[in-house]
């Protein structure tokens, strides 16, 4: 029985991401003036969770061999909407949350429809929809501001029992409620299959359209959870194109660090979560090392370059050069 070897091979990307994260985070914590206190953990968890949500959203789309360059814009749009509707009493707040999630799913669904029925390449289709989503965000929130139900916001960004960051529990819940059911359903398998070989999937009679549509829609949904969380984080909404493009690019970096193949069909959202946390830990190193402020961006760039080059180590093992080409 060498089943575990197959399992290991399948999870390699996730495990590498976990290892990078563990390494970076250990360096960070062992140099942190305060050490690993619950507050430090909470700060790291909140920041990581936000990126992890966007990275998961990106993963869903990337699995289908697509890419969502509008994911940051969805984040920003839902952030702006959340800063308007997630207020008031418990009932109103709940309605607001549902509405925000609905809008996110709608944006994702729109992407999906354009890609599936419009037969456009995802990368350009989402450049277009991203501009549209951002434009709407700007109409809704020409200036930063707004409010959010602070009780809910503090609860979601706080600690449960004074120890466990609530954001991590939320992430866990999302994995259990959204990700695991998705990837072990027929629809999810169709999404993977479409990403791996769309023709073969079609010939095999798989519901590839539904699979892709579900992936894009859930991607939008996850991005909107990110938007909600961003609102909890900041108590406000801002239509910032910088935020949109930053998170789009970071989500791609996190997804790759998390071992998800940009060519589709391979990888998991759990890997992307570790990728996101690893990426955040890279940024945190800045905090604990006494770098001149002007050298920090360079340092961060170099670390990123090194981190993405880790995958290249596998090249040493390649003895058949055709394996270069996947």
């Amino acid at each position: 029985m060498k089943d575990w070897r197959y399992w290991l091979a399948e999870q390699r990307g996730t495990l590498v991401a976990l290892a990078i994260f563990a390494l970076m985070f250990t360096i960070y914590i062992s140099n942190h003036p305060a050490g690993l206190t619950t507050n430090v953990a909470q700060t790291a968890a909140n920041k990581g969770t936000l990126l992890a949500l966007v990275a998961m959203a990106q993963t869903l789309v990337v699995i289908t061999a697509g890419i969502d360059l509008s994911v940051g814009a969805i984040l920003v749009l839902t952030n702006c909407i959340a800063s308007m509707v997630v207020t008031g009493n418990a009932f109103e707040t709940t309605l607001g949350v549902v509405f925000v999630l609905f809008v996110g799913a709608l944006c994702g669904a729109l992407n999906g429809l354009i890609v599936i029925y419009g037969r456009l390449q995802p990368i350009v289709a989402t450049i277009g929809t991203g501009a549209i989503f951002f434009g709407i965000a700007l109409i809704l929130r020409p200036l930063p501001g707004g409010t959010v139900n602070e009780t809910l916001a503090d609860a979601m960004t706080g600690k449960v029992f004074g120890i466990v960051p609530a954001s991590l529990l939320m992430l866990l819940a999302i994995v259990l409620v959204v990700w695991l059911p998705f990837c072990s359903s027929v629809i999810g398998r169709a999404a993977y299959a479409a990403g791996s070989s769309e023709t073969a999937a079609y010939m095999s009679g798989m519901p590839i359209r539904r699979g892709k549509f579900a992936a894009y829609t859930l991607g939008g949904l996850l991005a909107s959870i990110g938007g909600l969380f961003l609102t909890f984080f900041t108590y406000s909404g801002q239509a910032s194109s910088a935020t949109a493009s930053t998170y789009t690019l970071l989500s791609i970096a996190a997804v790759v660090l998390g071992g998800v193949s940009l060519f589709g069909g391979r990888g998991s959202a759990i890997g992307a979560i570790f990728g996101a946390f690893a990426f955040r830990a890279i940024g945190d190193l800045m905090f604990v090392f006494d770098f001149d402020a002007l050298w920090q961006p360079l340092f961060q760039g170099v670390i990123l370059l090194l981190a993405v080059s880790i995958g290249a180590l596998g090249l040493w093992r390649v003895r058949n050069r055709l394996e270069w080409f996947g």
Binding site: L120, V124, I127, I136, P297, F299, S309
Partner: protein
């Protein structure tokens, strides 16, 4: 439906037009439509002044998009454009601090800096087999870091040299901006490379199927690396021209060029998956994007509306002709 209509229309056209692919034809048609639309608002949109100015401004994007196209034809992408543009411009201007010889060589120095970053991209993509989307993201961050350090610590000189000014804003042929001539030369070079040289064939081949190209005895890694170096050099050259236009270099001057460059290439009918596309399409795409942005700006459309229209136009145009074939 649109395919067959197009087919029928194209049959009635003269032969040389018929050979132009639908994306190119539609892009040019959209350009004319856009101008007519602008002309309704103000006849100034149809003035030679305005059009030449658009072509001049389009030249910067055109040079940058040329490099982007080369990379996209390989099935890759270059996200390092923003800071390669800035680095090229800043380094070219910086050269002026190092004596008259360096000042004369400012333009090549700027381009060389871009090629160096392109080299790192190329090594990462071709030899380390890292997805281009992520290597170029990282080199963009590194280039930004370098420029921040440089600006903060080296008392940078950032005036464009006379030569740079001349290249971007002068006019050797009266009435025709030099930038446009440069774009024409770069474009002609690109057309020649793509259609007539072994390198161009290899680019298309690799874009279609790198494995088959490798087994055909093409040094695919070298081709990919050279393409990235060229793309870096062209981005930097675009930056140098921009610096000449603005008469100075600045941080962040390349930010506005990444997505338009990709959009221009794709609107011009080049497949984002690689292996397919013609330079004429990129020319159309560049002019289209430049005009669209300019007209929306001048119409004083609020930023929100502009973003929405920009997005809608991209999607609508691609729906017209950029669709992948239906499932057989």
């Amino acid at each position: 439906m649109s395919d067959t209509t197009m087919g029928r229309i194209s049959e009635r056209m003269p032969r040389f037009i018929r050979r132009i692919e639908p994306p190119v034809a539609i892009s040019f048609a959209c350009i004319i439509l856009l101008l007519l639309f602008g002309g309704l608002y103000s006849s100034a949109f149809l003035s030679a002044d305005y059009l030449l100015q658009q072509l001049k401004v389009a030249s910067f994007l055109g040079v940058i998009a040329t490099g982007m196209m080369l990379v996209i034809l390989l099935g890759q992408i270059d996200l390092s454009v923003p800071w390669v543009v800035a680095a090229g411009a800043m380094m070219a201007c910086a050269a002026t601090a190092y004596g008259p010889a360096a000042t004369l060589a400012a333009v090549p120095i700027g381009i060389l800096c871009g090629m160096l970053i392109g080299l790192v991209n190329g090594i990462g993509v071709a030899y380390l087999r890292i997805p281009s989307m992520i290597v170029t993201l990282a080199t963009n961050a590194v280039a930004q870091g370098l420029m921040v350090v440089y600006t903060g610590g080296f008392s940078p000189r950032d005036f464009a040299t006379e030569e740079m000014r001349y290249l971007a804003t002068g006019s050797l042929i009266p009435g025709v901006p030099n930038a446009l001539i440069i774009w024409a030369i770069v474009g002609a070079g690109m057309v020649f490379v793509l259609t007539r040289t072994t390198f161009g064939r290899a680019v298309y081949g690799i874009g279609n199927r790198e494995r088959a190209a490798y087994l055909s005895g093409v040094n695919t890694r070298r081709v990919v690396m050279i393409a990235f170096i060229a793309a870096g050099g062209l981005s930097a050259f675009g930056g140098v021209l921009l610096a000449g236009y603005a008469s100075k270099a600045a941080q962040g001057m390349g930010d506005a060029y990444l997505l338009p460059a990709i959009a221009a290439v794709v609107l011009g009918g080049t497949s984002i998956l690689g292996g397919r596309g013609s330079y004429l399409g990129t020319v159309a795409g560049v002019i289209l994007i430049t005009l669209l942005l300019s007209i929306l700006s001048v119409l004083q459309m609020p930023e929100a509306g502009r973003q929405i229209i920009y997005g809608v136009v991209i999607i609508a145009m691609l729906l017209l002709y950029g669709r992948s074939p239906a499932n057989q």
